[in-house]
Amino acid sequence: MGLTIVLFIILFTVFVVQIGKARELASIVRADPGEEDEINKFHAGVGMFFMVAFLLICVWSFYHYIPTSLGWGPNTAASEHGTEVDRLFNVTLFFTSIVFFLTHIALFWFGWKYRGIRGKKATYLAHNEKLEMVWMIIPAIVMAFLVIDGLDAWNNIMTDLPEEAQSVILPAEGSDNEFIEIEATGSQFLWYLRYPGRDGKLGTKYFTQINSNNPLGQTWTDEKNIDDFMTTELVLPKDKKVRVRITARDVLHNFYIRDMRVKMDAVPGMPTYFIFTPTVTTDSMRRRLSTRPEWQVPDANDPTKERWETYNYELACAELCGRGHYSMRNIVRIVEEDEYLDWLDAQEGGKIQVDSVRVFDPETFEEKLYVVPNTKGTIKSQYFSKIWGTDDDPFKMARHESLEALVLNKLYIGEDYAAAKEIRNSYEYSDDEFRTSAQFMKDIKVLLNKARISNDVEEAKELRTQSAALLKELTSLTQKVEEVTDDTQSNGLTLNTTETSAQDSDV
């Protein structure tokens, strides 16, 4: 097989060479003075044909690849600064296309028009200063425009956060000084993704402390590390500013999320940062793709689903790091705020099933006996799963009570919200009443979410009190409804909710 191919190639080459030789000899024998004109005409013509075909193919192929070209179809940036990148790309594309078309048309058209003809004389034109000034100044002006536009965008994107900015678990709506801080550490050949946990602050780390129980070398004497947890999936809320701290353990890597237009090298011993704000959730991105025929085909890995259903943002490595460079993939999931909080709860153990029973401190939450999660193993931080209670633990079995209280607090919040939902769902409303109850639910949710991310037990209590007050009003609304409907079944429930609200108001 291989030999036949080689033989074929050799024979073909000999054949072509013989043709070349024969044509050369023929032209010498013919000694036709017009032959060169014919050759010139032929190649100038091929040039013209090439130019037309080439430019048409450029236009057609651009049209064909719109679905994957940045800023046009589904590949539109899913982050705030990304739209600016896309815009700049397409502005540049506009100007360069003009030059591309004009110069190619001129080059091949002149090549055709001024092809060599025997006896004709070329124009002796050595220079023309005016013309040269024109085509020096025009590009200079366009470049100046592109530089200004580009640098303006670049400096906006790259500006660091203000000094007073705080990393928090979930930035408040419209706050410029709060952001989510996460950390990505490149390693041959995977990413370690670290979240700051309840306190919103990443703990310190140092490479000499790296071992199998501590892949990042976190410093356990730093209390900020206690709640830091690691995940394999990068989950981030929509419309919240994120600062990724990018580090590397061994060699250079590059933190690259295509749809977010995020790219930054990870350098060992030198943390780098990229600040971005995701704007399109994974779900809306899938909806965006679902309208396109090329995404409505069965997925290669899961034939029961169409391709758009399994689409995910992906974190990749974009700096050569060794033999597994092409395989450093993590899924990036952009979700709504609620879903993000639910996910955080799950990571921290707030919704984890209990595995031990304990009476809770009556001073803080006295009304009800709650089962308490065993801290070890439920808060999924590296500290609690690997260090707590071992010889390496600098806090020597300390209880980390405030942390436990905060995590526990979430159980109450979950209960509060579940109760409110139950009440809301128990009755049939008229349209007006439904709107009122929906507004109640919304307000309750805002308060409870605030309580959920609060790092202060007292503050959380205050927020829950406010939400309990709202719940009471909602209950009174439902009681009114009850009077009308007189649903016997609801009695038990009403009793229940009254109890709940009573407890809450006491709190």
Partner: protein, 617 residues
Amino acid sequence: MANLNVKEQDLLTHDDHHGHDDHGDHHGDKYQSSFVDRYIFSQDHKTIAKQFLITGMFWALIGAAMSIIFRLQLGFPDADMAWLQPLLGGWIDIDPATGEGTLDPNFYYALVTMHGTIIVFFVLTAGLSGTFSNLLIPLQCGARDMASPMMNMLSYWFFFLAGAVMFISLFLNTGPFSGGWTAYPPLSELPQASDGSKAGATLWIVSLVLFVVSVLLGGINYITTVINMRTKGMHMFRLPLTIWAFLVTAILGLLSFPVLASGFFMVTFDRVLGTSFFLNEIYVAGEALTTRVGGSAILYQHLFWFLGHPEVYIIILPAMGIVSEVLSVHARKPIFGYKAMVFSILAIAVLSFLVWAHHMYMTGMNPFIANIFVLFTLIIAVPSAVKVFNWIATVWGGNFRYNSASLFSIGFVSMFISGGLTGIFLGNSAIDIQQHDTYFVVAHFHVVMGVAAFFGMFAGIYHWFPRLYGRFMNETLGRLHFWGTFIGAYAVFGPMHYLGMAGVPRRYYRFDTFASFSQFDAMNQFITIAAIVVFMFQILFVVNFFYSIYRGRKQDKLNPWGATTLEWTAPINAGHGNWEGEIPAVHRWPYDLSKYDDREFVLQTEPLAEGEKDGGH
């Protein structure tokens, strides 16, 4: 001064030519008395040019063949590669169950690395600038040889040695270096991190340091020759643009290659002596390198790109010079805006030292610094644009003769436009956030400095083949070679722009791990097939080249293209010393084509008529 040199040289050669001055053929001087002196350790610049050219072609074939192998991997990642086992041996991993072979990822990265290194340094630096600087500087300046023929010879043999070391590294059992042609540390310094960073990296560095020596020896010679050994009347603004390009190229090389060498020395110290120039806080292979702290990986990148960016102009400027000359001669009219061309070469050269960090926008370098580099990078587009418009204006109003050389010049202009324009995207740091290290970059630099520089080289080979071997290359094959390569190169690199616009990263062994990057199977197959076809056309060129050396149509006229420059006044197959008797003096600029109604061209040696103004001023 120049005159004095001419006299000395004359004396030197005349001593050896007593008795057979009337001979048309020139049988060498005392430095060329034996076969070895004449063909191997030759000090004749023309022979050295041929040595550079043929060695460059050898490496070009190896580099291109490597690209075919990794293109096969990218186009057909699931195909059985067992048939390559006789060639690649252990680098094809055979699945014992099915007997199917796959390319080892380490070797894939080694191929990519070697392809880049070989093409950039051995082919487009040594093969292009080495060949044509050697051939044309003495001939077009009117000198008998380089200022130091001995150093010139050493320059080639250091290059040969560099090649030999690199060649040996291909056969190491841990594989050749695989950390990318840019060899960023820490990957290139940590043998624990990659097999290619073991002996492969050592040989790679040794080879490239030898190469730097070669470039410096050559460069000093080119500069000295152009400055001191021009013939009588050849003042700077009577030099053909080729010489301007070679001179500036040599200056760029002289200023930037030592910086690269210093970077390599530091890498070597880190590898061998336990220093930490580029290492900091590293945990690799289960071990924290606690003594290797305080360095900066970014520092290496600054050193590398301080060479690396001028390097792309070291590659493209000779091609620009060649194309200016070839276009003008075959359009039968002077190059448009000679002085603008000279000043744009100079402007590009100066700016090329101020743009290196545009390769580093996303490396964690302080983003503020990017402002300066964006500015200078986009400014460099202005002299480049001037050159392009001037080439097009040179074609305008010409009597354009289509042959292999001129076709490749046209192709060069087209490629330089296409590739140059994509540079405007990448030079703008905000766009580079997304496009950095994607296929957009691959497409950009292959078109603008890979293919374009090759086109310049081909134009030069077809044009000066008679000057090298006293014969012509076959025109039919040459034109076929052009159209195949021109269309094929666009077919290979055109689609890559779309890959880049979709965000597909470069240096990926396969794409199916990522949903976003794996949508282009058909395109990748198309590119691979196109690359194979283009490679076939290059084989055609190589066959044509060697066939024509021995059997090509003989050069019958001293000046077959009707050019005006000095190299065509020396006898066909001139010996060492180039000209019989006196070196011709120069009286006019090199582009008096179609100046008079009755004559198509006027040689530079022809005195100006009474009251005639020299052209180009």
